[in-house]
């Protein structure tokens, strides 16, 4: 009964209240959005690589190496020579290696040169191996294997021909259009940057650059078939991953690679560098969380202000209710119920905004940062945030409630205008 009164009273003042609901929903969207994106980003990053003991590249910074080699964010500062790679791969302590070569792209997706060890040894998530939706790993010079997202969004099937472009941005004059590649395999979806990668062999990378010099095509062109006659063993690679026979020797091998005399190299332990990355951005995450909490606080204060300001006009309403037999505490309850409805509506609308916003931002985040956002329901922590917001709102509603309670006692049944 009192719900209906509260609802009808609120409905009468719906325009102002809708704005209040909207401000609360925006603040909840911010609070939950920051938390959700943070957790999803962590999970994406953590699930991208597994069971790799060291990643080796030219010396830059540990986080930089991790970002460009595994997440395809950023660029390498320098390359690793083929001789150094072979030297280190020949160590007794090293069980397997996967060389990778980055630099080209295909319609916005990164192209990665590697060998068949990649399909065998690369692991992601909880030690999951790469699987093929259809097709096989590349064997011929001009074969390519596509990640699931590449095939889906561009509509490729087995047997299609694709043109690779030089550099990370596709431009017509930087296309290797005389050497098309044939799709021979499409990988299963992994939820990692692998989905957004076009894989070709290291020899393929050499072949497409054979008549290029310093990023520019030379007039003396070499056709695709002629390129086969050349020695296509790679000269340099961007980085390589390796697995050890015995993980306990990780630090010793890492130190030996870091001190390798022939070339400036660095080796990182992916798990350790990921922890470093979290620590670096951990402060920003906390600042964002505090900001979001303050935005919620200001939205609630705004709600308090609007309710207090309408108190005077509602004196007659309260007096009428008292006249028909409402007890003073009913007045208090009325205010609390109204606030409860406002804040619950605000939270629900905020959740709606959140999921719509995430659904729209998903492709962009995946493309720019390799973060895959799962549209899962809010978890325990997020429900608690909603709960605390509702509780706070109810506590705040006590202020106008108690004021109205006292006034209704003072006014009694007479209406003082």
């Amino acid at each position: 009964m009192i719900w209906r009164i509260a609802f009808k009273s609120a409905w009468h003042r719906r325009v102002g209240l809708l704005l209040t609901i909207f401000s609360i929903s925006v603040s909840m969207f911010l609070l939950l959005g920051v938390d959700k994106v943070r957790k999803e980003a962590h999970n994406s990053f953590v699930n991208t690589i597994s069971q790799t003991d060291l990643i080796v590249g030219a010396r830059s910074g540990s986080i930089n190496l991790l970002l460009y080699s595994v997440f395809r964010i950023g660029n390498a500062t320098n390359n690793v020579s083929w001789e150094s790679f072979q030297d280190i791969a020949a160590l007794d302590e090293v069980a397997w290696t996967v060389p990778i070569s980055l630099g080209d792209s295909h319609r916005g997706f990164r192209v990665m040169g590697t060998n068949e060890d990649y399909f065998q040894h690369y692991r992601y998530g909880q030690d999951e191996a790469l699987a093929f939706q259809e097709g096989v790993p590349f064997s011929d010079l001009y074969d390519t294997v596509l990640g699931a997202e590449v095939a889906d969004s561009l509509g490729y099937v087995l047997g299609d021909e694709i043109i690779i472009s030089h550099g990370a941005i596709a431009t017509e004059f930087a296309a290797h259009d005389d050497k098309p590649f044939h799709v021979v395999g499409i990988l299963e979806r992994t939820g990692t940057p692998v989905d957004r990668t076009v894989h070709i062999s290291l020899e393929g990378i050499e072949a497409i650059h054979i008549d290029w010099n310093a990023g520019v095509r030379m007039p003396l062109e070499i056709s695709a078939e002629q390129a086969r006659k050349f020695d296509l063993e790679p000269q340099t690679i961007t980085a390589f991953m390796l697995g050890l026979e015995n993980r306990i020797q990780t630090f010793q091998v890492q130190r030996a690679i870091n001190e390798y005399r022939e070339e400036p190299l660095q080796a990182i332990v992916p798990g350790v560098t990921l922890a470093e990355l979290w620590r670096s951005i951990g402060v920003f995450e906390q600042v964002l969380a505090v900001l979001a909490a303050l935005v919620l606080f200001s939205a609630l204060i705004g709600m308090l202000t609007s309710v207090l300001s309408t108190l005077n006009e509602r004196r007659r309403e309260m007096a009428v209710l008292r006249a028909v037999g409402a007890h003073p505490y009913h007045i208090l309850l009325l205010f609390m119920l109204e606030t409860l409805m406002i804040v619950v509506a605000g939270c629900l609308f905020g959740l709606l905004l959140l999921y719509v916003g995430l659904a729209m931002a998903r492709p962009l985040l995946a493309e720019l940062y390799g973060i895959s956002i799962a549209l899962t329901p809010p978890d325990g922590g997020q429900w608690m945030m909603i709960g605390v917001a509702i509780l706070l709102a109810l506590i705040i509603s006590l202020i106008p409630g108690i004021v109205a309670y006292r006034r209704s006692v003072e006014d009694g049944l007479s209406i003082r205008i």
Binding site: K39, H42, N43, V46, S50, Q51, D53, R59, G61, S62, E83, S84, D87, I88, A90, L91, D92, E93, Q126, E245, N246, R247, I248, Q249, T250, F251, Q252, Q254, R255, A256, E259, Y260, R261, E262, P264, Q266, V269, G271, L274, A275, E276, R279, G282, V283, Q286, A289, V290, A293, L294, F297, V388, L392, I395, I396, L398, I399, I402, V403, R406, R407
Partner: protein, 269 residues
């Protein structure tokens, strides 16, 4: 009058509760903010080229022959200190060279589940401990003149011996409790499930890596992983220590603990 006082009082209460809410939101994350910051996480590998043979054919020296400076005895931090410096180890009961030569264990502390506290020094088998190696070469060192360049070579030799020391197989299948620092290897969401345990902070970055007998490969028991935010702090690892001297079909050489329980290290005990 009364109404006014009530209003201001309730406003105060509201503000305090909101402040508490904001603090509560930040508090769980606070330890990471106050966590020790390793001096310089960016790799600073400025290796000088070897003067003797710049045109030598590229040969990769296998890890055992590392020309690294030895670890000087780390400063033992006071128990109140929350910050750890690179190379700092946890406070320990110092052993005299005589004690280690006789292989007398430090006071054995066994907890109620039958796990005893292990000291990192015990993981180096007797005869290979720094004091023993030092004693072995003492005469040769004493015979050298001041400023002899061969002294550095001798020191490198001693360092190599220490780094290549085998593991102490007597510790196999012992239930132990070992304190140390974490170098994460495998994650599950925000939890570290597998890691390497080392005696001092920052072992993976600048300071010389610990020898193989001062590294333990730990696999956490289900649901017992370490949160990433806590991974910069020292921990107690409790479990059964496996010490394989040789790589076999069933396992690789080195110390391992499987199904370990990991708890924070309370240095105020």
């Amino acid at each position: 009058m009364l109404t006014f006082r009530l209003k201001s009082f309730s406003f105060l209460v509201i503000s305090l509760s909101i402040l508490l809410f904001v603090l509560a939101a930040c508090a769980p994350a606070a330890p990471s903010v106050a966590a020790p910051t390793p001096a310089d996480l960016v790799l600073d590998n400025s290796a000088e080229p070897t003067p003797e043979n710049p045109t030598a054919i590229a040969t990769m020296e296998p890890p055992p022959t590392l020309t690294v400076m030895p670890t000087t005895p780390p400063n033992v931090p006071s128990l109140e200190e929350a910050e750890f410096e690179l190379g700092e180890a946890l406070p320990k009961v110092p052993t005299t060279p005589q004690e280690s030569a006789e292989a007398t264990p430090v006071a054995v502390v066994i907890d109620d589940q039958g796990y005893r506290e292990l000291a990192w020094e015990e993981m180096v088998p007797p005869g290979f401990r720094p004091e023993d190696i030092m004693a072995k070469y003492q005469d040769e060192l004493n015979q050298m003149q001041d400023g002899d360049s061969a002294a550095m070579d001798l020191y490198d030799l001693m360092q190599e011996e220490f780094m290549n020391a085998p593991i102490n197989s007597e510790l196999n299948a012992q239930k132990i409790k070992l304190p140390g620092f974490i170098a994460p290897l495998e994650y599950q969401d925000d939890t570290i499930t597998e890691f390497l345990l080392v005696p001092y902070f920052g072992a993976c970055i600048h300071v010389p890596p610990p020898p193989a007998n001062q590294t333990v490969y730990v696999t956490a028991a289900d649901g017992n992983g370490v949160d990433v935010g806590d991974s910069y702090y020292p921990v107690w690892v409790v479990g059964e220590l496996l010490a394989e001297g040789q790589t076999t079909d069933i396992g690789v050489a080195g110390y391992r603990i499987q199904n370990a329980t990991i708890t924070p290290y309370d240095y105020n005990q």
